[in-house]
Symmetry: C2
Subunit: 320 residues, 2 copies
């Protein structure tokens, strides 16, 4: 099932989010508008704003407020990508040169700051302080998590735990905020908010595991970015960690991780790629997707619930 | 008159802001705590939080909320400094190596993001959506202004106007938010909010002009950073602009500005320094300080009002 079908219950409002993103690029400054336009018209799947809207369906669906929040969530996501691309020195994202590569790191930094602020302003315009608090806490979690990651020393004994901590803060937290904020704005009861948040956390972990798998087995043309970049930079994501756990004697992969990517990686990439670690990762991702769906099983059987279930299946079988 | 006397009406609560800043450095992550501690214990004059507290004295002085807001204002200020030091590649601030120089640009970037978020979280904890909106708009203005500045082509005809636009967004806006947010949280009438905001804008412009003058005539030891850095990098601040306006034939200074600082600057620095442009700048700064005081002249004659008047005088005679 494709995204168009999955997004059906919220199609109209997701279109409004898209229009909202276009409107944001309309500023008094030509340079800022150019950068916003470039960054926001990026062919993204808009999964996060879709989650906010779908979560809103479980209560009093307040379209204007939910559209504002969904737009803010996408802006916050975009801001973190723009800053991530500076930190990672990435040249390409979604098939286009990154902002930092085209306009320089300074402009990318300032654009990211603007996007954070704009996202905060939109969140405030929902008139709900709880989602403003949630928004701020999400950015605290993401930036603190990334900061921690800059000083992690690899230790296979702790690697799995640290990996899950890392992806919880860098990815799952924002997905959880996407669903939770929708539930809050729709005035759903605490138990529903909790269930939808739990869905978002597990969905986000599954999403990131698949991202990390695609970095090994994906197609560059489909992903719109180079593959194998994590291991090349000595970053051990789940496929690498599982490979190392089951091949304690192998020092080709281990030495790349230990030396943070100063060695040639082609052989190591192939070893992980052709190992059972990939399949194992897919199983783990699938388990998290299942957990996500279990979290919302007691919620009413509305079309949005089916969309959430389908979306969880969609993201673990995606190829980009 | 020194700051201790000026701050008297709010001394106790400014101390609480200081304690609040210390508490913020207390996180679960050792690296984050180290960076926060380094950045927040910086020997700053805490003028912005003091303004928020003083403004609060004109209404129902709600100490807990005002302290939260004042702390948020100082955090927002600190975040912009951390990011500015990346953009400007500054090595030293307030006599200490910058975060970007000591821990690297990536960590400085992520620390700045965390500080923005933490400041937003504190602002939300005042429970007042208006100040949350103001907070977001301030960061939008600052980052959009700095972004615009990256593409400004120097034109003497427009230089003064562009300079005032620039310092309005990069400096005056935050001072205005400092006073305005205090007035809002104290539930003062619209006219009082407007007067205190007007004070903040003019105060901020005066403050930045003096900053730019000190970059020419200040003492490195007192300023805690190298002097002459603006002109060395080809950035024309008010002293340079006024010098060029009154010396249209001089091409020593003009060529540095035109070439964005690729030439030796010692002679040019001395020319501006020994010209009447410096005195002229001090007069202009003094006029803005006077305007700041005029803006609040009809407010009740409480001790905080005298502090605001004294502070406006203090900042135009400061040497660091």
């Amino acid at each position: 099932m494709g995204l168009t079908d999955i997004y059906k219950p919220i199609q109209k409002d997701l279109h409004r989010v898209e229009q909202g993103l276009k409107k944001i690029a309309n500023t008094a400054s030509p340079l800022l508008s150019e950068l916003l336009d470039y960054t926001l018209q990026n062919g993204g799947k808009r999964i996060r704003p879709a989650l906010t809207l779908l979560a809103g369906k479980f209560g009093q669906y307040d379209a204007p407020r939910l559209v504002l929040m969904a737009t803010a969530i996408e802006l916050l996501h975009t801001a973190t990508l723009v800053h991530d691309d500076i930190v990672d020195k990435s040249a390409v994202r979604r098939g286009k040169p990154t902002v930092s590569r085209t306009w320089g790191e300074n402009r990318a930094l300032l654009l990211g700051d603007y996007l954070f602020a704009r996202a905060g302003r939109l969140t405030a315009s929902t008139g709900n302080l709880k989602v403003v608090e949630l928004f701020s806490e999400t950015l605290m979690t993401i930036s603190a998590g990334e900061l921690k990651q800059t000083s992690v020393v690899f230790d296979l004994q702790k690697a799995r735990e640290e990996y899950f901590d890392w992806i919880s803060s860098k990815t799952a937290c924002l997905f959880a905020t996407a669903t939770e904020s929708g539930a809050i704005l729709a005035n759903t009861p605490e138990s529903t908010i909790g269930a939808l948040r739990e869905y978002g956390v597990n969905f986000g972990i599954a999403f990131q595991i698949i991202d990390d798998v695609l970095d090994f087995v994906g197609e560059e043309a489909e992903l719109g970015k180079p593959v194998g970049s994590d291991l090349s930079e000595g970053i051990a994501t789940l496929p690498t960690i599982l490979f190392m756990e089951s091949h304690p004697e192998n020092d080709v992969v281990a030495s790349i991780v230990a030396k943070r990517g100063t060695e040639s990686t082609a052989a190591a990439l192939e070893m992980v790629r052709s190992s059972t670690a990939i399949e194992h990762c897919l199983e783990i991702a699938s388990d998290f997707a299942t957990k996500a769906c279990q979290a919302i099983q007691h919620l009413p059987d509305i079309p949005a619930k089916q969309s959430l279930v389908d979306l969880a299946r969609y993201i673990i079988t995606r190829r980009k």
